[in-house]
């Protein structure tokens, strides 16, 4: 057994060893630090919005400021937190190890992607500090091209640059998964996390360029004074919406697919059971990625889009729910007769299954054109996507972070605190967002900071929930940092999980494996009907 002070990928401490690293594990950590910063700023914007919404009149901020706040919240959360989170943090760290490789295919491009990401982020923040943008994260024309004041182009350029970072990440993962699997690691021996990230990478590579050109087009139109979206020339603002949503709908699958991949890993490990229907789950990931490309018109039912096109998009939106449902059924079937342990990662995973299901089902309400006419642009939509993004994606990110934390840092986080934070997050989340379904159903539009008296109770509940949710986010931040110094040293495989990443020491050496492993087994070969092996003792703070 290696001594605790053995050389590993974290041993070198110099600044340049971090800023010029090409080690996928370090790049994952760099991304983690970056997204925490952007998340915090976006969360502050949300907090200000929720405080404003405590009272019906617009008494905290002006209308323009409120618009800038929700724009900031959306832009940062979508492009600088959700899209990179699991892929660029957990994916970067885990993928090469899971497939038995020493690194990704193009380590230098990996580092470049992190720099592009942050250059874009700084651009977007500069636009905020310089005066802000009030178009909403969706930048609809002709407002964004012709009428908006502010630093639209600067913010758009920030997203544009960061977008190239995410394209590089997707490109790297696709080639890595195709070409760098260890001997014996056939496609159907891959962990489902890899399948999910492969599907995610397809979307990253095929959808993001369309966003890039769309953002470029509105920047040109704004700067030049003429463009294809300008109705005074005969152009069509709705064309922007087609192109924007061609990317942005698949983008939400970029966000949730990796989360689903994490859940597949967590459910199997903490039920000590092979996943039910491995092939179904794997193909569902691909199906979601592909079908997800042809549903974008469901964002445009009331935009003057043709009713016939709307019907096509509507039925396809119903169909895209099927592979997601298949996954939920398979996870549930995996739990059945499993030996379930309620460690922190599993609490997040179980929370995910419930909340993602609610989010997904409410998506179906919105996919029905007749219902969407009433719910479009209301708080119902906000509640729907926050159930998926926070209840789904953020929970899976937290679950994955807790699960792989021992591998990443070589330390165990305090288990009791972990479980407490998970439960606080779950309660806070539901209190924040469930009332918003009701608000939307009752007619409260989104992006408004003043509202009629009768809606106040829902807003008060929501803001109260948000405060609790904030505590749920803060606790892990504190105890993760604490664990770096005071956490118990982690063994190679604290969860007794299957998977090649657990065959390396915690933390792993620079090149992951002394010798590239040869794979002979299917994934998730947990012993049938096993007694649960001893869990690591919960750390008492």
């Amino acid at each position: 057994m290696k001594a605790a002070t053995a050389e590993n990928y974290l041993s070198e401490h110099s600044v340049s060893s971090w800023l010029l690293t090409t080690d996928h594990k370090r790049i994952g950590i760099l991304y983690l630090l970056s997204i925490i910063v952007y998340f915090a700023i976006a969360a502050v914007a949300a907090a200000l919005m929720r405080i404003e919404l405590l009272t019906p009149p617009a008494d905290l901020v002006s209308a323009e400021t409120y618009n800038k706040l929700f724009t900031l919240h959306g832009v940062l959360m979508v492009w600088f937190f959700l899209i990179p989170s699991i892929p660029a943090v957990l994916g970067n760290f885990v993928i090469p190890m899971m497939i038995g490789a020493r690194d990704v295919a193009f380590p230098k491009l990996n580092l470049l992607s992190w720099y592009l990401f942050n250059i874009g982020g700084l651009c977007a923040l500069y636009a905020v500090v310089w005066g802000g943008v009030d178009t909403g994260w969706t930048f609809y024309t002709p407002y964004s091209t012709t009428y908006a004041n502010g630093h639209v182009v600067t913010m758009i350029m920030g997203v544009f640059i960061a977008g190239f970072g995410s394209i590089l990440t997707g490109l790297n993962f696709i080639i890595t998964i195709h070409k760098m699997r260890a001997p014996g690691m056939t496609w159907f021996r891959l962990p489902l996390f890899i399948w999910s990230l492969y599907a995610t990478s397809l979307i990253l590579v095929l959808a993001t360029p369309v966003l890039a050109i769309t953002l470029l087009a509105i920047s040109v139109e704004r700067l030049w004074g003429v463009g294809i979206f300008d109705p005074t020339l005969g152009g069509d603002p709705v064309l922007f919406q087609h192109m924007f949503w061609f990317y942005s709908h698949p983008a939400v699958y970029i966000m949730i697919l990796p989360g689903m991949g994490v859940i597949s890993e967590l459910i199997t490990c903490f039920s000590r059971k092979k996943i039910f229907g491995y092939h179904f789950v794997a193909f569902s990931s691909l199906a979601i990625a592909v079908i997800g490309f042809v549903v974008w018109g469901h964002h445009m039912f009331v935009s003057s889009q043709s009713v016939y096109a709307g019907m096509v998009f509507s039925i396809l939106s119903f169909i895209v729910a099927v592979p997601s449902a298949i996954k939920v059924f398979n996870w549930t079937a995996t739990l059945y007769k499993g030996s379930v342990a309620f460690d922190t990662p599993m609490l997040y995973a179980l929370g995910f299954i419930g909340l993602f299901t609610i989010g997904g089902l409410t998506g179906l309400f919105l996919a029905a054109i007749a219902v969407d006419i009433h719910l479009h642009d209301t708080y119902f939509v906000i509640a729907h996507f926050h159930y998926i993004m926070v209840g789904g994606m953020v929970l899976s990110f937290m679950g994955g972070l807790h699960y792989w934390w021992p591998k990443i840092t070589g330390r165990l986080y305090p288990e009791a605190m972990g479980r407490l934070a998970a439960m606080i997050t779950f309660i806070g989340f539901n209190l924040t967002f469930f009332p918003q379904f009701l608000l939307g159903y009752l007619g409260q539009p989104r992006r408004y900071h003043a509202y009629p008296e009768e809606f106040q109770i829902f807003h008060v509940l929501s803001t109260a929930g948000a405060s609790i949710l904030g505590v749920g986010y803060l606790l892990p931040l504190l105890y993760f940092v604490w664990s770096l110094k005071y956490g118990k040293k982690a063994p190679a495989n604290p969860w007794q999980a299957t998977g090649l990443e657990w065959q390396t020491p915690s933390p792993p050496p620079r090149d992951n494996f002394d010798e590239i492993p040869i794979v002979t087994e299917d994934p998730y070969e947990y012993p049938a009907e096993a007694e649960a092996p001893p869990q690591p003792e919960p750390q008492h703070v």
């Binding site: 095929l206 064309l239 087609h242 192109m243 061609f246 490309f293 974008w296 043709s306 009713v307 096109a309």
Partner: protein
């Protein structure tokens, strides 16, 4: 794999001359009044040129099936975007 295939210079020359001939053809067709077939004709010739470049200059004819899929994927996805968006525009009342 494409990195192993070395084509003779003559092959490249023939393809090049074909491409130039097709270019002449493209321009020539543009001077004929084919009504609404001018566009499909021009596009068809462009597609043939593109296929020649992809197959021979970019070696895809001699490459693995995976390379074929990667090469085709972008165009396929572009087709999805064009077709689905146009279903909106052509079906508006």
């Amino acid at each position: 794999m494409s990195s192993h295939t070395i084509l003779p210079t003559k092959t490249y020359l023939v393809i090049f001359l074909l491409l130039m001939a097709l270019l002449g053809f493209t321009v020539g067709v543009a001077f004929l009044d084919l009504g609404r077939f001018n566009l499909p004709a021009a596009m068809a010739i462009a597609v043939v040129k593109a296929v020649l470049i992809v197959m021979f200059f970019m070696h895809v004819k001699y490459a693995s099936r995976l390379t074929w899929v990667f090469a085709a994927a972008g165009f396929f996805w572009l087709a999805i975007m064009l077709i689905f968006t146009m279903t909106d525009y052509v079906s508006r009342g």
